[in-house]
Subunit: 141 residues, 2 copies
């Protein structure tokens, strides 16, 4: 799979509507899920047509691993979670994307995985600005 | 985190009882989940004390990514699934482990994640031998 000009790649419309932009990493768009139930990041590699981790070349996979690590450390710095959950599922939205979620013993799904448990609770504008600022600070740190 | 002698590392008792040994990779024990509902592999890095992906050193993370890729390709070769699901959750069993699961539109959880949906259906000895042989062939291929 050739690396295409980034201009040709488009974020899937479902991911675009469920998330807010947080950072543009070397490989991935890093997005914040619009759900105050959990601090929840999504990484989307800008690789046209990728649906599975096995669709990435080795160097892209390693870079994705580095960017997951970077995102997870930022979540940990800001929220001090009990556990981090990392997953590439994609049964519904086909564009390859990776969930990185900070979990707490008092969150609404603990200890189950978050998917399909409770309805998303969107951020207010003030909450969103605060959360994005804190995460961007941690990502730069 | 220093890489300890492998002899000091022990598979968590819950993972040992839920899975069967499939292969010993450079970093991970590769195991088959004892559940005929889904072709379901588990990779467990032999790194003492590791609970999160961020507990691994960079080189270990990249090797884990390579071994996930290897396991996922074997699943794909043998089962031709509709989707692969890859996840490091660990909310219940603290030892770092990665799920690699072949998913089908007619499996008992589709399109939801597999966790907490239906009770595991263990393999019969004959099924188990057949499945392990086919996966080991694909892993060698």
């Amino acid at each position: 799979m050739k690396t295409p000009p980034a201009g040709d790649w488009q974020l899937h419309s479902q991911l675009a509507s469920d998330t807010h932009p947080l950072a543009q990493l070397r490989l991935c768009e890093l997005r914040l899920m619009d759900d105050t139930n959990y601090p929840w990041l999504i990484l989307v590699p800008r690789v046209i047509g990728a649906q599975e981790l096995v669709d990435l070349r080795g160097a892209e996979r390693h870079l994705l691993s580095d960017e997951i690590d970077h995102a997870a450390r930022a979540l940990r710095t800001v929220f001090r979670p009990r556990k981090l959950n990392v997953a590439a599922l994609g049964n519904i939205v086909p564009q390859l994307h990776v969930h990185v979620i900070a979990r707490f013993e008092d969150d609404p799904a603990w200890p189950a995985p978050v998917w399909g448990r409770v309805a998303a609770r969107p951020y207010t504008p003030e909450q969103l600005i605060d959360r994005i600022n804190r995460l961007q600070d941690a990502l730069r740190g």
